[in-house]
């Protein structure tokens, strides 16, 4: 983007002031290089979001922002239901509650190195991944509804995990006020074979080594030390969430004129939070969030079973589970200085509550909420911690990953899947994927530099770096 369009508020905060239909300014958190590299569409989309009814303070973009649909990916926007605020299916995205769950293994590299290939094979055998894969769990209608309201709690009750797992999940592993009746038969059908599946594209399961600490105090609170091995699982609500997004996006487009919504772009399809459609979408979205939480919980247990076979006695504990495609009801500071209940959209952005926040598991409160940032295949991932400053900067939100630097086709032309796997093997990383074309499209060089994104998020005060993770085993869909 052209920097001259922006007012620079600080070294890492750039503003597009209010103009035309904008109700609030747009704020982008980035350094000069990241901002220059962002597509002009990010600015256009933020300006459009800033014009939506009931938006509070600003339409915001995180350092990894890129062109999305309606809202930019890496976008944050909060709406006041009392001021005609809206909820947007496009502002959440198709992969509702896509997120990252990280497990602590209690293992070190030396424990795994001799059986690394075998463990990778076992994980690839246990974890259904890729296009056309199916899970081993089938639910009848009543049980399906219990999953939609119970989330990870439901999964644990059914033997997919341990009660202690739930203490370290956002929302305690279950989102309240889900509406199973708002989930269509098509969405249910689409999920039927997909419980406990990883998905494809940029979804992954990785065994990672803690390679570097930036904040020893926070790392101690989080229980992370250099050389520790963790497992990170990146996936979401699978076919159910995709279908919910599809159906409500269309319904909101058609209904927009009925609500008197004059949208600058139809892809901003939304509905007033306090309308029947808005309420139904929120209920369906929460059910999809529970589906994602249940899915990551099932994958957690499948991972445990693999470790148990290969490394008997290994005890995997949930470190944290946090989503980055959501709309959540939270209390934040409004522009008039009062504390208000707002609906915060984070699309490709991670909640990052600061130290002491009661929504953060008690054990982590001295450090702040863990913020899990996934890299691309073969690159670093990061653990950050929420900050006090994040509340004023971006409703306690931070980045979520790297974002693509080139299209899938460019990547597939540039790299061959087999060479990518071999290059990674030379670096000591085992890659397992059912599709070599998929591996080529997800080649590390096809993504932006996640390290730079995380440095900027830290420098901007959105979240602070705690640990860097490096991949050991990569399971891709």
């Amino acid at each position: 983007m052209e920097l001259s369009r922006f007012e620079r508020h600080s070294e890492y905060c750039w503003a597009l002031p209010r103009s035309c239909a904008m109700r609030v300014p747009a704020l982008l958190y980035a350094d000069e290089d990241l901002l220059k590299d962002m597509d002009d569409k990010v600015g256009e989309q933020l300006v459009n979001v800033a014009s939506l009814p009931g938006i509070v303070h600003a339409a915001m973009a995180m350092p990894d922002a890129h062109w999305g649909y309606g809202f930019p990916i890496g976008g944050v926007a909060a709406f006041d239901p009392g001021d005609g605020g809206v909820v947007s299916a496009g502002g959440v995205g198709f992969d509702i509650s896509c997120g990252v769950r990280t497990l602590q293994t209690g293992l070190r590299r030396k424990d795994v190195e001799p059986i690394k290939e075998g463990l990778a094979h076992e994980l690839s055998r246990q974890i259904p991944a890729g296009v056309g894969s199916t899970g081993r769990i089938r639910l009848d209608e009543a049980e399906f509804d219990r999953m939609l309201t119970g989330g990870a709690h439901w999964a644990v009750q059914r033997g997919w995990g341990e009660p202690a797992d739930l203490e370290h999940c956002e929302d305690g592993g279950r989102v309240e006020d889900a509406l199973p009746e708002a989930i269509s038969s098509q969405a249910r059908r689409r999920q039927r074979d997909e419980m406990g599946t990883l998905g494809s594209g940029n979804h992954y399961l990785e065994l990672q080594e803690v390679a570097e600490l930036y904040d020893a105090k926070a790392a101690a609170v989080f229980g992370l030390g250099v050389g520790d091995l963790v497992v990170s699982i990146h996936c979401g609500s699978r076919g159910l969430g995709h279908q919910v997004g599809t159906e409500f996006l269309r319904e909101m487009v058609v209904a927009a004129p009925d609500f008197g919504l004059d949208l600058p772009d139809r892809e901003l399809a939304c509905a007033p939070i306090e309308s029947a459609l808005g309420g139904r979408y929120l209920g369906a979205m929460r059910a999809a969030m529970n589906c994602a939480l249940a899915n990551r919980q099932i994958l957690t247990q499948l991972t445990r079973e693999s470790f148990e076979r290969m490394l008997p006695g290994a005890r995997l504990r949930v470190f944290y589970d946090v989503s980055h495609n959501i709309c959540k009801e939270e209390v934040h500071d409004a522009d008039d200085g009062t504390r208000k209940k707002l609906y915060v959209h984070r699309k490709g952005a991670t909640r990052a509550f600061g130290p002491g926040n009661p929504a953060v598991p008690e054990v982590f409160r001295p450090a702040g909420q863990p913020v899990l940032i996934g890299g691309s295949m073969g690159t670093s991932s990061y653990v950050l911690a929420g900050t006090d400053a994040g509340e004023q900067l971006a409703f306690s939100s931070a980045c979520h990953g790297a974002g693509r630097a080139m299209s899938r086709h460019q990547a597939a032309r540039r790299w061959k899947g087999r060479s990518v796997v071999e290059d990674m093997a030379e670096r000591g990383i085992v890659v397992k994927s059912p599709s070599l074309r998929g591996v080529a499209e997800e080649a590390p060089g096809a993504y932006k530099d996640v390290t730079r994104v995380v440095q900027v998020a830290d420098a901007a005060g959105l979240a602070r770096r705690v640990a860097r993770l490096e991949p050991v085993i990569v399971l891709k869909g």
């Binding site: 597509d39 569409k41 890129h66 062109w67 999305g68 649909y69 309606g70 990916i73 496009g90 995205g93 198709f94 992969d95 890729g130 296009v131 056309g132 199916t134 098509q186 059908r189 689409r190 039927r192 074979d193 998905g199 494809s200 594209g201 940029n202 076919g239 995709h242 279908q243 997004g245 599809t246 996006l249 269309r250 487009v253 058609v254 139809r266 892809e267 399809a269 974002g403 693509r404 299209s407 899938r408 086709h409 460019q410 597939a412 059912p434 599709s435 070599l436 074309r437 998929g438 080529a440 499209e441 869909g477």
Partner: protein, 139 residues
């Protein structure tokens, strides 16, 4: 003109575009473009057929509904499609589509399509009479 398809760039996702002498032809080509996001359409055998019916108030939403119907069938039947016989009459699309179940080894499917979006959504007839149908699909 013969049907033709292509992809266009869109950040993390991918745009699909079909062209044809008729609206039905352009929609058919857009469907081929969507299959090509996942695998080489020429590698997809046409062993099974299903029927699809869509109704939408505008040609643009008809494209979105058509692609989303295919996404749904791909996901629930674990199939890929490469043959698209499409008929359009007013706001109604009827299609017979042919394909086969996913064969991971042979198809090497790169990514699943989550849904068709309204981004870069456009259906129009150009000055030369060619129909163009396009949008971004989320992967």
């Amino acid at each position: 003109m013969a049907q033709a398809w292509e992809h266009f760039a869109h950040g993390a996702d991918i745009g699909v575009r079909g062209r044809g002498a008729t609206l039905a032809g352009a929609l058919s080509a857009a469907a081929t473009a969507m299959t090509a996001v996942v695998t080489d359409p020429e590698a997809v055998r046409q062993t099974d057929a299903i029927e699809i019916l869509c109704r939408a108030p505008t040609p643009e939403l008809l494209l979105v509904d058509w692609l989303n119907s295919l996404v749904y069938e791909m996901a629930t039947r674990r199939m890929l499609f490469s043959g698209f016989e499409v008929e359009c009459e007013g706001s109604v699309l009827r299609a017979r589509v042919r394909g086969e179940r996913v064969d991971v080894r042979r198809h090497q499917p790169a990514v699943e399509v989550k849904g068709a979006t309204l981004t870069a959504l456009d259906v129009h007839r150009g000055e030369d009479g060619t129909w163009v149908a396009q949008c971004v699909v989320d992967v």
